[in-house]
């Protein structure tokens, strides 16, 4: 899901850079109201965890590989806006230092994974987990929270994968060279959607669920005060 440089044309990557910068600004404004200086270590921990999770490649036998993102867990612990910022930092380091994901496509990658994936998962989580007071009182509500987070994790990563497929798939329509061949990502939507969704719906989505539920179960038990 880390789109490399060259797969998106300038109209696409330019727009996503603009949208992502705007969203990051909003996220900063939101956090300014709620974030305390004492929370900085928790942000660091969350961003680092997301970075590490993305290194665990899960293979489809004889096919491609993918991985979880940690976005849902971050949202449950830090809230969605902080999760968005944390993951954007992890994605920036991946692109700049490790060449995972492009520079031009950074805006799109952030939007897909750190924003859309996180907020889609968060919305479903809140819907299923019920009122915030329930979460705060919890004790015997843990099962419901875990279930909600699991569903959110699966939904979120698949939303991110679907957006990635759309962005890649529209490239042949947007930009063609003089010879009629695509200038950027060469695959049409009917190739990109099945290619990305097959892996994420069947395997990588469940990797995200497993990571989210296991880590959250541990946190609910040992660090319930951390849950957002």
């Amino acid at each position: 899901m880390h789109i490399p440089d060259g797969y998106l044309g300038p109209e696409t990557y330019g727009s996503f850079w603009a949208v992502t910068l705007g969203l990051l600004y909003v996220a900063g404004r939101k956090l300014k109201k709620t974030l305390k200086a004492a929370d900085a270590p928790l942000l660091a921990l969350g961003a680092a965890a997301s970075f590490v999770v993305m290194m665990f490649n899960v293979p489809i036998m004889g096919g491609t590989s993918g991985h979880a993102t940690g976005g849902m867990l971050l949202a449950v612990v830090l809230g969605p806006w902080a999760a968005f910022i944390c993951m954007s930092i992890a994605l920036a380091v991946q692109a700049l230092v490790f060449g995972d994901g492009g520079i031009t496509s950074y805006g799109a990658n952030c939007f897909n994974m750190a924003f859309a994936g996180v907020f889609a998962g968060w919305a479903l989580y809140r819907l299923l987990a019920g009122k915030k007071e329930n979460i705060e009182k919890k004790k015997n509500k843990n099962k419901r929270i875990l279930f909600a987070a699991g569903c959110g994790a699966y939904f979120g990563i698949n939303v991110a994968a679907f957006l990635t497929a759309l962005e890649l798939g529209i490239q042949p329509i947007l930009d063609k060279g003089a010879d009629g061949r695509p200038l950027y990502s060469p695959f049409p939507l009917k190739v990109t959607i099945p290619a990305l969704m097959a892996g994420h719906l069947t395997l990588f989505g469940f990797a995200e669920v497993a990571f989210t539920v296991l880590a959250l179960a541990y946190l609910l038990k040992s660090h319930p005060e951390l849950i957002f």
Binding site: K36, P41, P59
Partner: protein, 123 residues
Amino acid sequence: MTKRGKKQEQKQKQKRKKQKLWVALLIFAFLTPLGLWAPRFFGAGGAWGEWSWRELEKTIGYAPAGLKRINGLWRAPAAGYGAGYMGYLASALAGILIVAAISYTIGKLISKHKDQHGGKTKK
């Protein structure tokens, strides 16, 4: 014990609990070479759509002109998370350090004018 002492003790306890999470992350980091091993073991390639222009040329017979032009735009110092399992592990540890340092700094900057004392949990 005085009230103050009790509060101090509780703060210490909170701190130790948080340190445990960093230890957990570190243990997790030492397992990352599994993420390199698993695709090799199961004969799986990399992620779909993340090929270099050369790999793409091999599969579809040509490299789209625009893609080829900006595909190598940036030379990442540790491209592909280093070489081999040790390189992968070193990348995980270095990555944690860099990502954590940046996030910590940004977190401090955002919360700059907020209470510097108290506030052990958010909200």
